[in-house]
């Protein structure tokens, strides 16, 4: 009798523990998706306006004290450069936190696309960093603390836009390198980043992210036919601080057309939330099993013995 109540007690307590552990993170998940700081800043990149002058690249180089370029910043031959057997255009690296690429969409005018960190609301680089080097600031920038970076480069793998680069050229102090929205020198003082300031075509509009969405929608409405009815980055991957307007479908100008609207962390949150459960519950669970099994084994022997006895008794009779 006492064995059964002990078993019931164990089972009930385990079920209770499991239920609370499983239920708690589910609830947190539902309300825990971060959609950005309400007053954060952003940039709307209007691909119909960019003329490919590369002034933004020059401004970035000067502002961030990057090494001298191999070619002058007004050299347009860079648009013909391709890598990996012609499959890849220029991308950001340790010497250039932003690059402009030229695309030739089917039967249309060339479209120039500026690439830099898009400063996600829920950045994959930040979620992937196990030393917590990354921070999403209330102003909207995704910055990182180079003092704690251990150079594991997980963020480079995690970034859906392939932005963080690594200073492979530095033998003794290699670091992650990426656009930081000019946070230190400009953004936190309420100033636009250097690339926005220099752009002659105002292809880059700096403002509060919520205003940029209004502006973007107004442009789409006012200039019927000029834009695709889509602001890339409004919802993509949980929303980004840098967003794009394009005259042609985004896949024609080098964007992943359908990265989904869930931030990258949503794909791993469920799995990661089971880790504490495993650590906390499994020892108790298995100890319980062990105890039960031992008890069960004891009962079994007893039963077997009694059966044997019973049989013997039967035989005697």
């Amino acid at each position: 009798m006492s064995g059964i109540s002990r078993r019931r007690f164990l089972a009930a307590s385990l079920a209770g523990c499991a239920a609370t552990t499983l239920a708690a993170p589910k609830k947190a998940l539902a309300s825990g998706i971060f959609t950005g700081y309400p007053e954060s800043m952003g940039v709307l990149v209007d691909l119909t306006r960019c003329i490919g002058c590369r002034s933004c690249e020059a401004a970035c180089n000067a502002e961030q004290n990057l090494p001298d370029p191999l070619l002058p910043f007004d050299d347009k031959s860079v648009f013909d450069q391709t890598f990996h057997g012609g499959t890849q255009k220029r991308r950001t690296d340790e010497n250039a936190y932003t690059v402009v690429n030229r695309y030739n969409p089917e039967g249309g005018e060339p479209v120039y696309v500026k690439k830099q960190c898009n400063h996600c609301a829920e950045p994959a680089c930040l979620s992937s960093c196990f030393v917590n080097a990354y921070t999403k600031t209330p102003e909207g920038a995704v910055i990182f603390n180079k003092k704690v970076c251990v150079g594991c480069r997980t963020c480079m793998v995690a970034c859906p836009f392939s932005i963080p680069a690594y200073s492979y050229s530095s033998a003794f102090d290699p670091l992650i390198k990426k656009c930081i929205f000019c946070h230190e020198t400009r953004l936190k003082n309420g100033k636009p980043p250097a690339c926005v300031d220099i752009c002659p075509q105002e292809a880059l509009t700096f403002g509060k992210r919520k205003d940029l969405l209004k502006i973007g929608n107004q442009r789409i409405q006012t200039h019927q036919g000029r834009y695709l009815d889509h602001i890339y980055g409004e919802n993509e991957l949980g929303g980004t601080s840098w967003m794009y307007l394009s005259p042609v479908p985004f896949e024609q100008v080098g964007f992943d057309p359908n990265p989904g609207n869930e931030p990258i962390i949503s794909h791993v949150k469920d799995f990661l939330s089971t880790v504490p459960m495993v650590l906390a519950i499994w020892p108790a669970l298995f100890v319980g099993f062990q105890l039960l099994a031992k008890k069960q084994a004891g009962h079994g022997d007893h039963d077997h013995d009694s059966e044997k006895q019973h049989d013997e008794e039967g035989a005697e009779q």
Binding site: A58, D68, P69, L71, D74, K191, E202
Partner: protein, 169 residues
Amino acid sequence: MSSKRIFTIMILTMAIVGMGGFVTAADMPEQVSIDRLSDLFEGVEFDHAMHTELGEDCSVCHHHTTGTGTTDERCISCHADSKEVATVGCSDCHVAAPFSSEHINRKSLEIYQFHIDTPGLKGAYHWNCIGCHEKVDGPTECVDCHARTTKGDAFYHKNAIGSSGAGGE
């Protein structure tokens, strides 16, 4: 009342600095110096007389502020009967620092229902010039309109090691 007068004087001064002269339809300038933002590039000596002879109506550049007035259906709903204004320089409406915090905060107030997206001065200049020049096969390279300064040469790394020596294009 007096602050209004000071404001008018300020606007006038800005117009004179920005566009090289006080402009009305009746007394059009032959030449306009556009040099308010010159830094990496020299200012532009804009041949106003030549451009007016091209036959475009004034509103292509001046919107609803002077001359023929606007014909754009998006503007007409409010500006069909707009009076000619006293100053018609670009910098009278397009601010030189469109991304300053005070301008952005002003924009955030929703009273500017239609004009929430007015370009800054630099954007306005370049759209108007390059936008047209692309259509009519006019000059569109940076140095076609304004020579680069020494500061500009350094900024664009004219003498980068991979340079073909054709810097300044």
